[in-house]
């Protein structure tokens, strides 16, 4: 509680001092503020550039498309620009505070050469952010997609520094970090499982998404709670101008999105749904048992917004998605995320933008046997409730301050089994609080130097009610080394952790064409995915830090060089990074992770280090677009202890499951003419580490390998080529526009190894053999029909 008060105290001081600053400066300066919007549908443009020509300085719009500049009285030429939009220049005579909301027109497909436009196209050079990738939905839709499903997670895996353990594996790995080290936010609500169908498709419906941003490093102070990355996904707000819709019919799923103004330019909504339908064909099956089976996934995304005034705007958004499996009376399973966000944007003054958010998220899975003597139901939940307030203070064109605080409440319900035939069984619920407070400033010094520096303080509390076991010191934790069992009441603080998380980045512009960037960040993570399988499953549990499971800490430094060529047509970036991780969760051999009251006794604590070089060449304009990316990296783990039982690989460094030395991808797309465009992508990467046997032996008539050196070998190299073609005939004066997308996944039918395992031969149990498992070992064509109106 003391900590909390301290927290609030600091916060109040911050708030009032900025307020004072606002008023103090008011006499000599005036404020130009407003929103940047898409002229077509009124969606706010995030991170768009507002540039004052005379002063050679500017600012960017925030996450809601708002900007504010405070300038001396005078006449200025202001240029508003955003990638993919035609820039606009406005002359402003500033004699008083002024509101200027600007709507930018999306660029048409410019086939005849390239119109080289304003400053904004060197965004990569201007912004102080590094190790950040912003993916436009339009760009994602150009990439050949697996079975025609637009997939954000698969698309970001084509970026440097982002990998996966294998095709069909859930999640993604960023710069040598585990999948649970990614903070995945959908309209600020945390998403715990980002995949449908165990990893083949992502839960994000491309039609409902407006903006995707991935931070691999230099993570801003506003974000906290995960070590390696932030994937910030924003849903569309809903068309403010007119009723419109889009959708598609694909090989896997169909989707439909509707948007419309409720009150023009004041209020609108968006609703989007998607369902896979392979199972609908089951009714044609002759096998009766087969007809009773179920297997599908669906998503619903919805958003509503209302603009009360120039100063107040309300957003309500939600996501609901499920995977459903049923196999007659034998087995049924269902899992999914649901989340809701309420946000209120408020302008306290011309220069203080505030955002108050309430977030609820529930990740749930259920499985069981529907009927019969063994009927049972097993449910598991993670509830997250989050209240936060975030402020942006546009102090002056050279300083923009962000500050705010966040309070999070977790409730983990790892498992409850109910059955008519057995006593109910429940693993203790776990409660925790996580508080964060942060402040950061983005400062421009002179013409060429931009700094962003800040600090986040996070405080974590493991709360009662809980049962905590104490173990004999100096012995491995086992159920036998328990010395005491402590019971804590509801709302009692059992264990606290906390600490500062400094964040820093610098952009030094060497010339208009190139810049050097540097960043450092420390991040802390208090919740952990508990999974010792190669690919995580939707049924893995999460747990939070406690007396025995320490929070994990990561420190990362990165240096990058950015250069633009040929009038900003080409962007080249090269970054090197080094990351050190402490107190990572690892597993004892043979660990039992589900329904384990003494989970900590099956866990180990390790260190990690990851380092690498990432190079990316990108072309964003013209008929020919795409990127080429290459990553050279290492990711290693070390689990050492005074106790030999608590070591892995004798306490030596060993490669993590997602260590990949080389990772190359190329994404190219070419507009042939007004109707046809084609694209291709190619991925090549080193195989993933696996464990090979060093001998075989017989025990009880079974021949089995003896495995010593964890991750001492690798699967063969992975490579794959995909093609796609898009046909779109624009019919002038028609509202209904449609297009066809044809794609071929794995063009040369490469049998890429997912894993290699060892078994005894079926016919001769004394003979052992190595088996390569390929998940998608063939060519997969598909066609998708898309429409919009």
């Amino acid at each position: 509680m003391k900590n909390l008060l301290y927290f609030l105290g600091v916060f109040c001081i911050l708030y009032f001092s900025t307020h004072a600053l606002t008023h103090a400066q008011k006499q000599s300066k005036f404020t130009l503020k407003g929103y940047l919007k898409d002229a077509e549908n009124g969606e706010g443009l995030l991170g768009a550039t507002v540039y004052v020509k005379e002063l050679r300085t500017g600012t960017a719009t925030n996450l809601y498309g708002f900007y504010s500049l405070s300038l001396e009285a005078g006449t200025y030429t202001i240029s508003y620009s955003y990638i993919g939009y035609t820039p606009i220049q406005k002359t402003v005579n500033l004699t008083a505070d002024q509101t200027l909301t600007v709507e930018l027109q999306a660029e048409g497909t410019e086939l005849e050469g390239v119109e080289v436009t304003a400053e904004a196209e060197d965004e990569a050079l201007q912004t102080v952010e590094m190790s950040v990738v912003k993916l436009e939905m339009a760009a994602i839709k150009k990439i050949p997609q697996f079975l025609g499903e637009t997939d954000i997670i698969r698309s970001i895996q084509l970026l440097p520094g982002v990998t996966t353990v294998g095709e069909g594996a859930t999640g993604f790995n960023v710069r040598g970090g585990n999948i649970d080290q990614n903070l995945i936010l959908l309209d600020e609500a945390p998403i715990y499982s980002s995949s449908h169908l165990f990893g083949f498709f992502s839960v994000f419906n491309g039609d409902a998404v407006k903006d995707v941003k991935l931070y691999k490093g230099g993570i801003p102070a506003i974000y906290g709670g995960r070590l390696s990355s932030v994937l910030d996904i924003r849903q569309k707000e809903g068309n403010m101008k007119k009723f419109s819709g889009s959708g598609g019919i694909g090989a896997v799923s169909s989707r439909l999105t509707l948007e419309a103004p409720i009150i023009k330019d004041k209020s609108s909504f968006m609703i989007s749904g998607r369902r896979s339908y392979a199972d609908l064909f089951l009714i044609f099956s002759r096998n009766e048992a087969m007809r009773k089976n179920k297997a599908y996934f669906y998503d619903v995304n919805a958003k509503f917004n209302y603009q009360f005034s120039d100063k107040d705007r309300l957003f309500i958004s939600g996501y609901f998605g499920n995977d459903v499996f049923g196999f007659g009376q034998n087995f049924a399973a269902k899992w999914g995320n649901r989340s809701g966000t309420i946000r209120w944007n408020h302008l306290f003054s011309d220069r203080v933008f505030a955002n108050f958010t309430g977030i609820y998220s529930n990740y749930e899975y259920k499985l069981g046997v529907p009927s019969g003597a063994n009927a049972f139901d097993w449910t598991s939940h993670i509830y997250t409730m989050n209240l936060r307030s975030d402020f942006t203070f546009f102090a002056n064109p050279k300083n923009t301050l962000d500050f705010g605080l966040s309070a999070l409440r977790y409730r983990f319900e790892p498992g409850l089994v109910t059955s008519d035939n057995f006593p109910d069984l429940e693993i203790d619920k776990k409660f925790a609080n996580e508080f964060g407070i942060y402040i950061s400033n983005e400062q421009t010094i002179g013409d060429n130097l931009t700094l962003k520096y800040g600090v986040r303080y996070s405080l974590y509390q493991h709360m009662g009610k809980a049962t905590v076991y104490e173990y004999t010191e100096g012995e491995p934790m086992t159920t036998k080394s328990i010395t005491d069992t402590l019971f804590y009441d509801q709302n009692k603080v059992i264990q606290s952790y906390g600490g500062f998380e400094p964040r820093f980045s610098l952009n030094w512009r060497l010339s208009p064409k190139n810049s050097v960037k540097l960043s450092y960040n420390r991040t802390r993570q208090y919740i952990h995915l508990i999974s010792n399988t190669t690919a995580a499953t939707p049924l893995d549990i999460w747990t939070s830090s406690d007396k025995h499971i320490k929070p994990a800490i990561a420190d990362q430094v990165a240096i990058g060089y950015f250069q633009n060529f040929k009038n900003n047509q080409y962007e080249l970036s090269a970054e090197v990074y080094y990351k050190e991780l402490q107190d990572l969760v690892d597993y004892k051999d043979g660990a039992q992770l589900l329904f384990n009251e003494t989970l900590e006794a099956d866990l180990l604590s390790g260190k990690g280090r990851a380092y690498g070089l990432e190079i990316m060449l990108k072309k964003q304009k013209g008929r020919f677009t795409g990127w080429l990316s290459y990553t050279l990296s290492r990711s290693e783990i070390r689990v050492d202890s005074d106790l030999p039982e608590d070591r892995i690989n004798n306490g030596d460094w060993y490669p993590s499951n997602y260590d990949k030395l080389h990772d190359l991808s190329a994404v190219l797309s070419y507009d042939i003419n007004e109707k046809w465009s084609i694209s291709a992508n190619y991925a090549y990467m080193t195989g993933r580490p696996i464990t090979y046997p060093d001998a075989k032996y017989e025990y009880e008539g079974i021949t089995v390998g003896n495995y010593g050196n964890r991750n001492g070998a690798r699967t063969p190299t992975y490579h794959r080529l995909d093609f796609s073609a898009n046909y779109e005939k624009i019919k002038p004066n028609r509202k209904w526009q449609s297009s066809w997308n044809f794609s071929i996944y794995n063009v040369y039918a490469r049998k890429n190894p997912y894993s290699i395992y060892f078994r005894q031969n079926e016919d001769n149990y004394r003979q052992t053999e190595a088996v390569q498992l390929s998940i998608l070992g063939t060519i997969l064509p598909s066609a998708t029909y898309n429409f919009k109106f």
Partner: protein, 288 residues
């Protein structure tokens, strides 16, 4: 082993979800494929392997000593001959086993309930090995055994749809660890190891253990052995089993598996296998 035990007890994510992926995705074509590949694996040092159990409910006790061999080498792994193999109980009674064929050591003497046993081995080169003490506990009898025809969600024509079922009652207020062996027409069925603790049915009647689905047909005789095992043995089987199932999409990676045998002079020596104790209850059914 199916549904209940498959899911609740051992959390095998293998069977249904993987077929579910297949079927949720394409229905018509699934592309996952397994190929036998040639590759080279490291060659570790040769280690002693011990396979031995003392049973209550079976007259003959058996210990097999062998060693590891290179992973892709053909044929049986080498047996260890000429060792002195002794079973000692907690009363200090020592019985020396007789080597009846190369590496196979036998004795005709039943294990007793509530007695603890340990194994001592002296190899011809003088190296001495010993196990920890294992306590033999009683196992409940099988209450009934029957079979049923069931819908199998993915049955093809050549797969049977019979499954054998049995039930038993778990004793109250004791942690029990179970293992089952199956014999179809007298032949040991070793496709998978089945064992569990009683976490999910502590002290109650287990109404239906569903086994051997798709493996039996009318006319078969099925014998079930229900065994008690020790907690240490259970933990060992858990690890051992992980290496047998390390292939699929959601498999855990293979791990080193050490049993309860150590070199008495050099505890760092890595010995494989396990010495266990079990009480056995049996039930038999002819499917007709």
């Amino acid at each position: 082993m199916n549904t209940f035990l498959k899911f609740i007890l051992n959390f095998k994510l293998e069977k249904y979800p993987q077929k579910g992926v297949v079927f949720g995705l394409f229905l018509l074509v699934f592309t996952a494929c397994e190929d036998i590949v040639d590759l080279s694996v490291p060659r570790g040092e040769t280690r002693l392997v011990v396979d031995g159990t003392v049973f209550h409910g079976q007259p003959l006790q058996r210990v097999i000593l062998s060693t590891t061999s290179p992973f892709f080498e053909d044929g049986q792994t080498p047996r260890v001959t000429g060792a002195i193999v002794v079973i000692e109980n907690d009363l200090g009674t020592k019985d020396t086993l007789l080597e009846v064929e190369t590496g196979l050591y036998l004795i005709e003497k039943q294990g007793e309930i509530e007695r603890s046993y340990k194994l001592e081995i002296t190899l011809p080169d003088g190296k001495k090995y010993g196990s920890t003490y294992q306590t033999l506990v009683t196992v409940p009898s099988i209450d009934s055994i029957y079979y049923e025809e069931e819908d199998t969600p993915f049955a093809s024509d050549d797969e049977g749809n019979l499954s054998v079922k049995f039930n038993f009652t778990d004793p109250k207020e004791v942690d029990n660890y179970y293992r089952w062996n199956y014999y179809i027409n007298g032949e040991y069925f070793n496709d998978e190891l089945t064992f569990t603790d009683d976490q999910f049915f502590e002290g109650v009647e287990v109404p239906e253990v569903d086994i051997l689905r798709e493996f039996v047909e009318l006319g078969d005789t099925v014998l079930i052995e229900q065994l008690s095992i020790t907690e240490e043995h259970y933990n060992f089987l858990n690890k051992f089993n992980q290496n047998l199932e390390s292939g699929g999409l959601f498999a855990s990676p293979p791990i080193p598996v050490r049993g309860n045998i150590v070199n008495l002079d050099d505890p760092k020596e890595y010995v494989l296998g396990f010495f266990g104790v079990s009480a056995i209850e049996r039930a038999e059914i002819i499917l007709k």
